[in-house]
């Protein structure tokens, strides 16, 4: 069940410059959410109307606490406004939205959980869920330079890090990690920038490893009605029969074999 709700801010802190960690009271949303889904976040300022889609980073069903980790994308942005939220403030959300990672596929398997940059947050709750399914997990995280959330992944698997400048972990991309460390997996779940997803798609398809990736597109409705957020698919999509699936509803998680990147 999707709900539009006004949620109370429980806490917010800045993890590294520009990356914020927001905890919200959102009982109805956490009750329904699964890892890999996202929520639409609305600004208070009435001059900005469109939602900001943000992946769910943590689901605490027992306490009804939703965790979002997001990047402020610039000055005069909606996310800049979110960054000024304090304990006790309110913010409007719509969610949970989209399909989530098929973590039940991970049951008993060896899996890669791959996150690049601001694509890392959704992998955290996915790691927790996959671990609960008994998966054996290699977590591979790609950063520009400064790391965030990496320490929290150690509870769920082996954590490998790549940084663009090599300041931490391996210099290069997540793919450099896989090759250099000679890692292997039965299944891949990933979220990150398009070039990373493209490289992983090629890698996974070459090795015949089932791979699911989370996609990004500009959104308006967030629920599949407006057709703003499409991505190209190999086959005709179920909705419009034209090879343009809706990221917000048919995704954001797709099998790499379904989509054209």
């Amino acid at each position: 069940m999707k709900t539009a709700a006004i949620c109370e801010v429980l806490s917010q802190k800045e993890l590294i410059p520009g990356i914020f960690d927001l905890h919200l009271k959102a009982h109805e949303i956490t009750a329904a959410a699964v890892p890999g889904q996202f929520v639409n976040v609305y600004t208070k300022d009435a001059s900005r109307l469109l939602p900001r889609p943000v992946s769910i980073c943590g689901i605490d069903r027992k306490h009804g606490i939703l965790r979002l980790v997001y990047r402020v994308s610039g000055e005069k942005t909606g996310t800049r406004q979110f960054a000024s939220l304090r304990k006790g403030d309110e913010i409007r959300l719509l969610g949970p939205l989209g399909n989530g990672f098929p973590f039940e596929e991970a049951a008993g398997k060896h899996i890669f959980l791959i996150g690049g940059g601001i694509g890392i947050p959704p992998m955290l709750e996915t790691a927790k869920a996959a671990k609960a399914e008994g998966a054996e997990i290699d977590v591979i995280l790609g950063y520009r330079d400064l790391c965030f959330l990496d320490d929290e992944f150690t509870a769920y698997g082996n954590v490998y890090i790549a940084t663009e400048d090599g300041s931490i972990g391996i210099k290069g991309t997540v793919l450099n990690v896989i090759l250099q460390e000679q890692l292997r997996a039965d299944i891949i779940f990933a979220c990150g920038p398009k070039p990373m997803l493209r490289a992983l798609k090629a890698y996974a398809e070459a090795k015949n490893i089932p791979c699911w990736i989370s996609m990004e597109e500009r959104m308006a409705c967030g629920i599949g009605a407006c057709l703003a957020c499409v991505c190209e698919t190999k086959e005709k999509d179920a909705h419009s029969h034209v090879r343009n699936a809706r990221v917000c509803k048919d995704g954001p998680v797709f099998r790499t074999t379904e989509v054209v990147l």
Binding site: A4, R48, L50, R218, G222, A228, S240, H241, V242
Partner: protein
Amino acid sequence: MNLKVDLAGVSLKNPVMTASGTFGSGEEYSEFVDLSKLGAVVTKGVAPTPWEGNPTPRIAEVYGGMLNAIGLQNPGIEVFCRRDIPFLKQFDTRIVVNVCGHTTEEYCAVVERLADEPVDLLEINISCPNVKEGGIAFGQDPKGIEAITRELKSRAKQPVIMKLSPNVTSIRDCARAAEAGGADGISLINTLTGMKIDVRRRSFVLANKTGGMSGPAIHPIAVRMVYEAAHAVKIPVVGMGGITCAEDALEFILAGATAVSVGTANFINPYVTQEIVEGIETYLREEKIDDIRSLIGAVK
């Protein structure tokens, strides 16, 4: 208290409809809104065959609104009749099918295909700014409007509402042209053509360069055009553009609209259509007005 209005011979339980393209075929929003509470559901534009629409990014946020250049992605009339009409028939609301095409023939094909379907009204989109052929090309020229209206009227079984473009010098002339062509009603406004440039990337934000502007920012322009159109013709007018609350809707009705459509506001608050129906009820009660019809065009 009466909320019922008569739109081109079709009785609506209240004047609140959805704006084409913002509400899909109702399914997605039925999770939030009881569709039976709405005057009508207006569907996304449908063409004779599936259309894939424009490349992404298809939308951009602008001050008080958005630009869209969806480009009328749709599954075509066959899938629509098989899937979307039966879905909507489950609800006690009117079904308005929004029709698009690249050519007069394509519009006609859709209208003819719908002849025996349980559809209440047809809204003809001759004002989409986001497709190369068809769309706005028909809707900016009074002669063109009259011609296509006449063609469609000769084929349509259901009443025909022509959806007009605001990107014109004289909305009065366009409204009169639709009336002259035999339209049973007109609806306006479609989106205003806009553009957004990313000054850091030095490129257009939309893949299509331009897009249609919608949302509260366009409301005053839409109200003015509805007022002008309503005073130019005798056929009923559906008002839309930037409605976010009952008061916004009532402005259109007072300006002369028989019904209204709510678009972009759905994206901000998925419950909004039903809330607007309730807000209009509250207004009538507070203002001690028995019949919403007494408000239509009441401000002159």
